[in-house]
Amino acid sequence: MKGQGLLKGLYITLKRAVGKDITIQYPEQMPYLQDRFRGCLHFDYTKCIVCGLCTKACPNNVLSYESRQVEGSKKKELVSYTIDLQYCLFCNLCVEACPTNTLYFTHDFELSRYQRDQIKIVYEIPKEEPSAVKVDLKGDAPEPDETKKEKQLAAMTAALQKNPQKTVRKMVENDEDAEILAGILLEDEQKLSRMAALMIADREKAKKVAVAFVNKEKKDRLKGGGAEDESK
């Protein structure tokens, strides 16, 4: 009969109208990202052996680096590494080419910037202290200090919440301690925010505090463990 299809359509939309929604509220509710999701390209300077394979693999000249000869040996070392993200095709060719997993894609997909030159990510490695990596996102410079600090704090807190172990790894001596510290921070929000603030303001102090946290926890555990032993 004519009109049946119309009624069926009305029924379907009505059913969906009272049913569940499928959208998510994006900034509050983050989308679920698969493991292999290709977000922002990240460069882990410590692993780089300056082989240049990534720049050769890249189809669109996104990657470039400066290197210099290490005195007295054939080895090269990195001076700076630039990812010009605006030309990136997110094709994974550089990641596949890299022999040491220096390059990888993070899950950070919010890559838009207000200025074109902010898109460029430059990693500069000073010669003296290779441990203190300066990640210079160029666009951050002209911002007033206050907001910058706030942003840093927020970023650090987020990092701590998301991936605490990796973030605090440099604060303590070994992996085990890092794991303990991560556990503490995840449990206690106050400690987490304090640690985040300290890590930005004063690294040395943060390290001390971190060590203190870890030691206290270790002691507690010892006590707890001892009690358990006794009960056995």
């Binding site: 299809g5 698969q34 493991d35």
Partner: protein, 366 residues
Amino acid sequence: MLRTEQFTINIGPQHPSTHGGLHVEAVMDGEFIVDAIVHLGYVHRSVEKIAESRTYPQYVPYTSRLDYLASHLPTLGYCQAVEKMLGVAVPERAEYIRIIMAEFSRIASHLLFIGSCAIDLGATTGLIYCLRDRERIMDMFEMTSGQRLIASYMRIGGVSEDLPDTFIPAARSFIADFPEMIAEYDGLIIGNEILQARLKGVGRLNADDAIAYGVSGPNLRACGIDYDIRKAEPYGIYDRFDFTVPLAENGDSWDRLLVRMEEMQQSIHIIEQALNQLPEGEVKAKVPRIIKPAEGIEVYHRIESSKGELGYYIVADGGEKPYRLHVRAPSFINLMVLPMISKGGKLQDIIANIATLDPVLGESDR
């Protein structure tokens, strides 16, 4: 006799229903279309020239930007073309993964086709339902390659990574839910009498014209011509699967819609078989890091893309970059019949015709 003046009206390049940057200059007599002139090139990115400055592996990501709605298909075509030049055999598992990905791409593209067909005719809600289901395919692409839309997943000699553990359950659950989705589109979009009245008998293309104009893919099969490259000239391992080629008779917009609906079900059928037969093993053949096909080798490799016959004509000069690469884009050639089938119709018909020809301007303009 009273005579009215003809006037031209520019449908596009900025128009809600032109799928990107299509520009149709329609000569109108009131609401009737007297003639239509198609202007292309608004999305021209000179991919053929780019190919001449990229090495063979480097060009892979560019191919997925041709038909961005079914990005695995153009990549598959390119990789297979280069493999043909090199004589590389692809590992079994990779072949199967490629088929699965290609067919999912086809479904994703057809889902968007049905949705955009609905929205072009004014049924906004239909689009959202199709996008909702397409999203599940996009999630699967994200699982395997890390990218949702333009996944550069295939590589010369195989695929970039093996399937993750989560993929097969996701694919199986999609297949299980598919009949339900089809039922919903049938109820909301296909079964709607208004939509049927708008598509039936509109934009009729007869079989001889279709062949003469080089129309391919579902648009050709809607005219009743049984020609599917997956059957006629099987590439990859398509000869191992059992599927039928859906056909229609009239070649009008309605048939083009129906053929695609049926084609999705056949794709599901292929995926099911591929999942059942999926062997273990390597996913990438040993291919030298620097690919240099011998001088003078040239290949024309064509695949059945979701839009039609997608061909790559590659000429090698012995270097690591293609000497010449030409893409035979199905959308480009399918669009050629748009003026023919729209003449004499009404303004609303040309919108339906554009929608059912299913051009992708990224591919057509290259």
